[in-house]
């Protein structure tokens, strides 16, 4: 059955071009990444309640990327890309840990799944599990 075209959202977001942040894989920079993602999400017009979820989910994704990078003993930077269309906010966190990145606990994934409308973890440029994509829809 073909789904009809989704109607325009009642409260569309402000579409923005992507914002890109690259940081050294250190725990102290995760807060900076959270603040940047929150600022873009706020600018796009997401509700305050949702913003808290963005803050936490991005922190989890970046914490995971930092821990994977540390465990792989590489100096690849972690990359965060935030972009908004009228319908959704998309945040992608990429690391270059590749196969050597040890997976952190499932709690981070559980939280991301509980906060974002859509979560996917796929291979990044450095290998498996290097790309976390979070989507919030309006």
């Amino acid at each position: 059955m073909s789904a009809p075209e989704d109607p325009a959202p009642a409260h569309p977001l402000h579409s923005t071009g992507p914002v890109l942040l690259r940081f050294t894989a250190l725990p102290e920079h995760v807060r900076t990444a959270r603040l940047v993602a929150m600022a873009v999400a706020r600018r796009a017009g997401l509700d305050d309640g949702v913003l808290e979820g963005v803050r936490l989910a991005v922190g989890e994704a970046c914490g995971r990327a930092v821990q994977r990078t540390e465990s792989a003993a590489t100096d690849e930077l972690v990359e965060v890309e935030v972009s908004a269309t009228t319908r959704s906010l998309v945040i992608e966190v990429r690391d270059g840990a590749g196969d050597d990145g040890i997976e952190t606990e499932d709690v981070a994934l559980l939280l991301m799944a509980g906060l974002a409308d859509d979560v996917s973890v796929t291979p990044g440029s450095g290998g498996p599990g290097g790309r976390t994509r979070l989507i919030w829809r309006v």
Partner: protein, 116 residues
């Protein structure tokens, strides 16, 4: 560092007041403080989270570690939290079933002293 941890005795319990952000960077500080307290023989902890602005999965891991540690000494760990954004983190991860969470320090101390 955007985290503060102070402790005091109240009603025979050790109340640990935590403020700021508990995340992948600051969680080790909290872990160390809880370990120190348990090492000093303080096995009944009430952790006041009312001034916590942010809590992530590493912070949860520290709290679970603290709970395991006090329980190994027949102790207890109660939380104080009324903030919806923080409670949500416990709910999503199913940890509301693991931690007794109270609306005030007084109620947490009373519940803890009541053998809960």
């Amino acid at each position: 560092m955007d985290l503060s941890v102070t402790s005091r005795e109240q009603g025979g319990r050790t109340v640990v007041e935590v403020g700021g952000e508990i995340d992948v960077y600051t969680a080790p500080v909290l872990r160390e403080r809880l370990n120190d307290l348990v090492g000093e023989g303080r096995h009944h902890l009430v952790i006041d989270m009312e001034k916590v602005d942010f809590l992530d999965s590493t912070g949860l891991g520290v709290l679970v570690g603290g709970l395991k540690r006090v329980r190994s000494h027949d102790g207890s760990l109660h939380l104080v939290c009324t903030q919806e954004k923080i409670l949500k983190v416990f709910r999503i991860t199913g940890l509301t079933k693991v931690f007794p969470i109270h609306p005030s320090v007084e109620e947490a101390v009373a519940a803890s002293s009541g053998g809960a």
